[in-house]
């Protein structure tokens, strides 16, 4: 089991599965040419985004946001990352960056713990540090999350309830019972359902898929046999809904059973098309990347991030501090996409 997670776990993107991997250039990207040297508008401001791995489509999408930011502001912003998901390599990259003294480093950590000490070094050098998907990390100026877990979970249930007409039995899947975010999502969804859709009934405690499509498929088949009237599935890990969808499809229940949950368009498209998945939920990494840099820019210019700050980026117009943390802010950047909407995304 551990090995499985070692090999796979790295690519987990806050619950989005590794299945979302893709090919692409291997190795670190070189600094984007042709932008910094003349120092036209923003002078020597350099910002670098360090991601989990450059090879994952999710982060290739994020790089588009970084480029968009650079273009919009004229700041020399670029993205770096190793060719695989490795905390050590990430530490090494940040260490090398400190020597170059950029204005800001924004980072999506593979392991917040492993990064703590280098990030401390960076801040001691006066470098602004912004992180993403690292709730609880200490040595950063600001950590930005795309959305509030409670809001996200409730949102999925809201859609699911509308799909079933507020009635019927349903089950929830999580990647692992120890995956904190997944449990928060399904917990919030469950609370929302009890309040808003009293006629719906959760028939099992959350089912573990181990973020494996086959397991999700098997469990879904068993559940369909056990509960012939099952009306809805909620998935959490990226592999949950595709697996569930295969079972639903095989049973010919595309129109009867609602399947919704976290996934990304490239994986879910074929199932969205035939209705075996009804809606998928995610956030756009390009916007998240841009938001990180925007925060760094505000801090560099002497501004502050507080409740209500508007980054001027869709979904990040009204940042709110996360309860229990002093440096974490959340946006409302979750995207719900049905078949039509999902086609517009290329990751």
């Amino acid at each position: 089991m551990t090995r499985k997670y070692l090999l796979r776990g790295g690519a987990l993107v806050a619950g989005l599965s590794l299945a979302l991997t893709g090919c692409g250039t291997v190795g670190e990207t070189s600094p984007t040419p042709g932008q910094s040297t003349d120092g036209a508008s923003s002078g020597d401001v350099v910002m670098v985004t360090v991601v989990k791995a450059q090879t994952i489509p999710w982060f290739q999408r994020m790089e588009q946001g970084v480029k968009a930011f650079a273009e919009r502001t004229g700041i020399d912003a670029r993205q770096e990352g190793a060719d695989d998901v490795s905390p050590e390599k990430q530490v090494q990259i940040v260490q090398d960056l400190i020597a170059q003294k950029p204005t800001a480093i924004t980072v999506v950590p593979n392991s917040p713990e492993a990064l703590e000490s280098v990030l401390t070094q960076a801040r001691e050098q006066g470098i602004i540090v912004v992180s993403h998907e690292a709730t609880g990390i200490k040595n950063v100026d600001v950590d930005i999350e795309a959305f509030d877990n409670v809001a996200y979970g409730s949102d999925i249930m809201k859609n699911l309830g509308e799909c079933t007409g507020g009635k019927g039995e349903y089950v929830q899947f999580v990647g692992g019972l120890t995956a904190k975010t997944h449990m928060e999502w399904v917990g919030a969804a469950y609370d929302y359902q009890q309040e808003k859709f009293p006629e719906m009934k959760r028939v099992e405690t959350p089912i573990e898929s181990t973020d494996d499509q086959d397991t999700a498929y098997q469990r879904a088949k068993e559940l369909l046999a056990k509960y012939p009237n099952l009306a809805a599935f909620q998935g959490s890990a990226g592999n949950d809904v595709p697996g569930i969808a295969r079972a639903v499809q095989e049973a010919g229940l595309e129109d009867k059973v609602c399947v919704m949950g976290t996934s990304i368009p490239s994986v879910a498209n074929q199932y969205l098309a035939d209705g075996s998945i009804d809606k998928i939920f995610f956030w756009d990494p390009a916007l998240a990347g841009e938001a990180q840099l925007q925060i760094a820019k505000i801090l560099h210019e002497g501004g502050k991030i507080a409740a209500g700050t508007d980054l001027g980026i869709e979904g990040y117009n009204d940042l709110q501090p996360m309860e229990g943390f002093d440096n974490v802010f959340v946006g409302a950047a979750q995207v719900a996409a049905d078949a039509e909407a999902a086609k517009q995304f290329d990751f």
Partner: protein, 344 residues
């Protein structure tokens, strides 16, 4: 007594069968839904890929080695084939996919075999290393992209069923690739029973040095074994991709210990020289029944993993204890017989 012992089988297959039947009876009592064609088909379907992989491992284990690289070989060869087909946009039908993967699998197996047999390195270490190498090489040179859409011939096969019945609880399908598992099982059975190659595997697993002295071509046999493992594993890889209707390079990897556990459960000795196709089939089936029916019979989701673990220990425990009993019985019978024979 002798007939009873024959029923028990050389590797305790009989005991295992009893455990399996007992488990099915208990499950049916707990939830009558279990006792249905749907469940049977579903279990057979989920048995397909693990069984083919287990048959591959069986060969290595009988020969006294161990292979942990086979899941990577399986997925790497199948994923590479699919990627090539998608990138260069060709599709000559499913047989060609299998053939292509088999070739890649054979090459990867050959690498394992040559390193192990030529340099006489421990099989576990070698395959642990090649597992990493193959996996890394695939991610680097072939790609790490998840292909949600398969080449047309493969995605057509995804939905082909040999049996298609409507039952009281909906439709029940039996996927066509279940036949592949049956064919591979028969081939491996025949290979082990009817060919000198099969017998040399047992001989080498029983006594490596003895086999060498007896004139078996040990090196050749070993290399061939790993090639064969590569080929069989690659078939499992293709079957997996077809059945999951998508090609994910991260699939299967990490499942090697579950498969090896199934083979050992099936009576194969981890020290080599013992094991049978029948036992392996039963071992894999038992694990799949456990894996795929607990939720159905009402084990809460949070307990699934623990329950699988407990049942596995019980299963292997029964297996081992009865194997030990058997060994002891043979021994005492002989001790009693020896002096008598001498007086004669």
């Amino acid at each position: 007594m002798p007939s009873l012992r024959r029923l028990q089988g050389r590797n305790n297959e009989g005991t295992l069968l009893l455990v399996l039947i007992g488990l099915c009876v208990i499950m049916s009592l707990l939830n009558p839904v279990f006792f249905s064609i749907n469940t049977a088909f579903s279990i057979m379907r989920s048995t397909t890929v693990p069984l083919i992989l287990a048959l591959a491992v069986l060969l290595v284990i009988i020969s006294g080695g161990i292979d942990v690289s086979f899941p990577v070989v399986a997925i790497a060869s199948a994923y590479t084939s699919v990627t090539l087909m998608l990138n260069f946009d060709f599709d000559y039908g499913v047989p060609v996919v299998f053939l292509m993967s088999a070739c890649i699998g054979a090459v990867l197996g050959l690498i394992n075999g040559v390193v192990i047999a030529r340099f006489r390195l421990p099989t576990l270490i070698v395959t642990l290393a090649t597992q990493g190498i193959f996996f890394g090489a695939m991610l680097t040179y072939v790609g790490s992209r998840y292909h949600p859409d398969l080449p047309p011939s493969m995605s057509r096969l995804s939905t082909v069923n040999v049996v298609n019945v409507v039952t009281s609880n909906g439709k029940a399908y039996l996927h066509v690739l279940v036949l592949l598992a049956v064919v591979v099982a028969l081939l491996v059975w025949g290979l082990l029973k009817w060919t000198m190659f099969g017998r040399s595997l047992y001989a080498i697993g029983g006594d490596y040095e003895g086999a060498r002295r007896a004139g078996f071509r040990v090196v050749r046999t070993q290399v061939l074994t790993y090639v064969l493992v590569g080929v069989i594993a690659s078939l499992a890889g293709v079957a997996h991709i077809v059945m999951s209707r998508s090609a994910n390079p991260q699939d299967l990897v990490g499942g090697e210990l579950d498969i090896i556990a199934a083979v050992v459960l099936g009576g194969a000795s981890i020290f080599g020289g013992r094991g049978s196709v029948l036992g392996t089939v039963l071992g894999v089936l038992l694990i799949q029944v456990i894996n795929n029916s607990l939720l159905l019979v009402g084990v809460p989701g949070a307990w699934l993993r623990a329950a699988v673990g407990i049942l596995l220990i019980v299963g292997i425990g029964i297996q081992t204890v009865s194997a030990r009993r058997k060994a002891r019985r043979v021994h005492s019978v002989e001790d009693a017989a020896t002096p008598a024979g001498k007086e004669a």
